[in-house]
Each structure stands twice: as C-alpha cells, then as structure tokens.
C-alpha cells in the first residue's frame, strides 16, 4: 500500500494539471487570478530600467547543478530566463546569465539563442552571454561580486539553488546600487535573501515565475494543482495526527 502512494500521488498531480489547463481553455473562461507576489510585481521595473539605461540585466541560475537535487530549481530559473530575456534582449547590452554548472550553462545558452532567434536578432546573440562564473558555490559567489561592476549590470535576478554565497552577490549589488530579485529552494538561503535582497521570494514561489511573468497556461495550471495537492497533503497530515493520537 505504501509503495503505491508515490505513483498515485504523481498520477493525481498530473491529472490535476491537465484538468486545470483544460478548464482554462474553455470558452468564456475567466482569467485565472493569482495572488500578488511583490517580487514579480517589481520585476518589470527592473527589466525596464536595465533596458532604458542601456545596461545589462544579470540573470543567475544559482550554484545548483542540473542532474542533482537542485535540477528543478535550475529549470525554474531557465523558465524565468526565457521570459525576461525576451524583454531584456532589446537593450543595448544583452543580458548575461551566470551559473556554477556546465550543464546549466549549456541550457542557458540554448535558451538565449532561442530567444534571439524568435526575435530575428540572432546576429546579436553572444555565446559568452551565458557563462560559468565559478565551479564551486563560493567561487561562484566571489565571481559575481566583480561581474556586477564589470558588466554594467542594472539589476540581478537570481532564480535557482544557492547557499550562503548569495550574500556576496546581494552585497555587491547594494554597493553597485542595483536591485536584486532572488529566490532559492533552500529555506536557510531564503532567510538570508529576506534580509539582504531587495526582493526575495519565499517558499516555492521560485517555481511560479512562469505563471506570474507570462501567465503560461501550464504553469498557471501547475500552481492550481500545487494548491490542491497542498490541501490534500495538509488534510492527510491532520488526519494522520488525529488518527495516531486517537489510536494511542
């Protein structure tokens, strides 16, 4: 019985996502309302500031690696990268993407290339826009301290897995008078970002980028499915607590 719990969970989750997508495609379906996330509300300002001031936007996927436990956070960062780079690519200086993993760097390069290709501006694509800043978390953070000033960065968006080295990035951003929007899948890092970053995403909000920025249907459906599953898990926890208390 316990062995079936995991596959059932996954199947139910997938069905919920598909159902919510289908509901959104109905004729006359009202746009899905999602709660405001202050960090995402300030994102257009950051992007616009970068474009208008002729500076770059710095997008970081964190120090996580693709293929490890932080893969999902890296994918969330790639989703946000694709969406905001489409807007930031028109700037005089194209956005730069930093990672600490080679696989994430390759995916970021491909994402940027697709964005420029869609805008018929492939000639402006620079492979060096996506780069490995450091191969270890601390070296990654140390490299970012100079990247902000050397690359004329107007704002930083960090969506991915990061640890304490993110404080080096936020401190450098403050010294360079640039804004920072950061999110991590590590709760301890989220606490650090809450204190040091201009806009910090708490909890699983880093996975909501696709839904908040571009209102991608599947991403919005994922949010709703997550909410439903969260309710189910919470209900199961409460029921379990009650049951174990009663049986004792």
């Amino acid at each position: 019985m316990a062995e079936l719990l995991a596959p059932v969970f996954v199947v139910v989750f997938a069905i919920l996502m598909i159902v919510f997508v289908a509901l959104g495609w109905r004729k006359g379906a009202r746009p899905t309302a999602v709660r405001d996330i202050e960090a995402f509300l300030s994102l257009p300002t950051t992007v616009g500031q970068a474009v208008e001031t002729g500076k770059r936007l710095h997008i970081s996927l964190g120090s996580g690696a693709v293929g490890e436990v932080n893969t999902a956070a890296a994918f969330a960062g790639l989703t946000v990268l694709e969406q905001i780079s489409a807007a930031a690519a028109v700037s005089d200086k194209p956005p730069i993407v930093t990672t600490a993993d080679g696989t994430a760097m390759l995916l970021a390069q491909d994402t940027l290339r697709q964005v420029y290709q869609q805008q018929n501006a492939l000639n402006r694509y620079d492979t060096a826009s996506a780069r490995v800043a450091g191969l270890s978390p601390m070296s990654f953070g140390a490299a970012l301290t100079t990247t902000l000033s050397d690359e004329s960065v107007a704002g930083t968006v960090l969506i991915g897995s990061a640890t304490e080295e993110v404080v080096l990035l936020t401190e450098a951003a403050q010294r360079a008078h640039t804004t920072t929007l950061a999110a991590s899948d590590n709760p301890a890092t989220q606490a650090l970002l809450y204190v040091t970053a201009d806009s910090a995403l708490v909890g699983e909000d880093l996975f909501a980028g696709g839904a908040y920025i571009s209102r991608l249907p599947m991403h919005v459906a994922s949010l709703h499915a997550q909410d439903v599953m969260r309710l189910l898990v919470g209900a199961a926890i409460i029921l379990g607590v009650v049951a174990s208390t009663v049986t004792r």
Partner: protein, 217 residues
Amino acid sequence: MKLRASTIIAISIGLVTLLGYFMPDLRLIRVQFIAWAGMLAAVAVIIGMFNLLGVHGKKIGDGTPGWPYSIVLALTLLTVLTLPALGYLGPFVPFFKDWGFGPANVGSTFVFQYVQTAIGTSLSGLIVVFLIIAGYRLTRRPMKPMLIAFLMAATISLLGLIPLPAGLPDVGLHTLGNWLAQVPAVAGARGILLGIALGVVATGLRVLLAADRPYGE
C-alpha cells in the same frame, strides 16, 4: 505542439526513469540511464571549465574592466591543472620525487590548504560581516508584522546560541532558543520544503508533459 526528436527522447527517458522507481522490471534500464546521466555530469564540469576559460580569455582580449584578474584566473587554473601531473617528473627532477600523483599530491594539497581553504574561510567571514550589517538595518524597512516576527525570532535564537558567561544564571534562554529552532522553525521549514517538493514535482511533470522544454526546441 511539434514533437521534435529531443522532446520525444526527453519524455521517454524521463518516463522510464520515473516508472523504474515503481516497476522492478524497469530497474536495470533506470540504473543505466542514471549511469549515463552521471557521465554527462562529469562532461558538464569539463565544459564549464572551458567556458570559464573562454569567457575570461575574451575579457583579456577585449580589455574589459577587470581583465588583469582574468589573467590571474587563467594562470591559476592552468597551474592547478598542471600540479597533479608534476609527480611524473619525479624520476627526472628530485624536487618532484615525492610529489605524488593525483589531486592529493604535494602541490595540489598545498594550494588547496593554503589558498583555497584560506580564501573560502575568508569569504565566509565576509558573509558574516555582511549579514550582521544587513541584520541590524532591518528596521530601516517599513515595519510589518512579519518583519517584527523575524526580528524577535532572530534575537531569541541568538540568545539561545550564546554560551552563557560564567556566573550568569540560565534563565531558560537556551531552552527557549532550542524550542524555537526545533519546533516553529522546523515546522515552517517543513512547510516550505513541502511546497518546494510540490514545485519540484510540478516542474518534473511539466517536463514530462513537454510543457517545459529547457533542453531546447
């Protein structure tokens, strides 16, 4: 939606790996896929290294601000890569006789211990300073209930961590701090982790359903 080869490969391999956790018949295939993923991860490290060299090489060539440090980085990288191989000069050069091989040789250990470890711990110390400064500036922000709760929790946790000087009675701060760290903090962290886990599952399912294609078109 156009199903390209990359999408088909990604979806099929992902489904097999996922089902392999639940179906014993697919276990061997899953293990093989995992082994291949490990090899790709190793290759990714090498690719990352070359990308790092390329970016800094371009900085040197373009004269971008900070290019001298790029020279230092490139030289350091080449030096560290070369150090393990110097042990092969042992038969020819007495200095390298007991140099050893591999990443644990004398040179690499020296660099690791006296350069990398030192720099790493220094950066950690810097992080502490930055965190302290950011911490005591919290009240500059607009006072919100959550901010007040954060301040109180941080203060109590610090009080619980501090070793009491000799002579000071224990007024229960340690107990309170431990309770705060182990009950509310853990509960909140579990809730966050639960949400993150749901987000991870959702992200994975989007990849399996081809709604997200981070691997490209």
